[in-house]
Point group: C2
Chain length 125, copies 2
């Protein structure tokens, strides 16, 4: 593992993600961030966060990647096995407290879980 350095962009991205407490896409982060940063840089920062386990990635029904510092995950150690809610109005994804329960037929080896509910969140409706 490489030695991480503290950079303006890195701190700004983490700041936005922690303050919003939502999963955001690269373009949403780029808009909210205060500093000028290249698209590629933001992706690289986010992917580094994922590698380091700081942030997790969700793929929504729009096919886009959303990144979140999931507070509830850390507390309850649910890791990726919880539902996410994507609001089509404010374009953010929230982690729901609801855990994903499932069982699969024999022989299926589940490596990752991606459950996204889409609709309108309370704040927007």
């Amino acid at each position: 593992m490489l030695k991480r350095r503290n950079t303006t962009t890195k701190e700004a991205v983490l700041s936005v993600l922690t303050s919003k407490r939502r999963a955001m896409s690269q373009d949403a982060i780029m808009q909210q961030i205060g500093v000028n940063a290249d698209r590629a840089t933001i992706y690289r920062v986010l992917n580094r966060f994922c590698e380091d386990g700081l942030v997790h990635k969700i793929i929504a029904e729009d096919g886009k990647q959303y990144f979140a510092v999931c507070m509830k995950c850390d507390e309850t150690k649910l890791a990726d096995n919880h539902f996410h809610f994507r609001c089509t109005s404010c374009q953010t994804i929230e982690c729901l407290p609801e855990a994903v329960h499932f069982s699969v037929p024999n022989g299926y080896n589940v490596e990752s879980v991606n459950c996204v509910l889409t609709g309108v969140c309370p704040q927007c409706s």
Copy 2:
């Protein structure tokens, strides 16, 4: 709604989807299909199937659209509320019999559900 016409491409796409009994991406369909068809045409055929309720669309963790004539869905009327399994080896998505059960906090209006488990299927492992 427009009057649908029967075309070679339309029938070939439906044939592949029904015989494979898996959710497939546009490029997988293009490979399996016997006839020459444009990429855009296949997408249009698939989207028409979705509009007509013949096929449903799943977004996987690779961000791609997968299309399936889900047999089990029709039988049990589970519609979209079931788990899907994407095999990273054979690159197809299967509908699992397991239904998705969830509850959301008050105020959340869920419009669609997308649950994909990713891993390796019995045939590939």
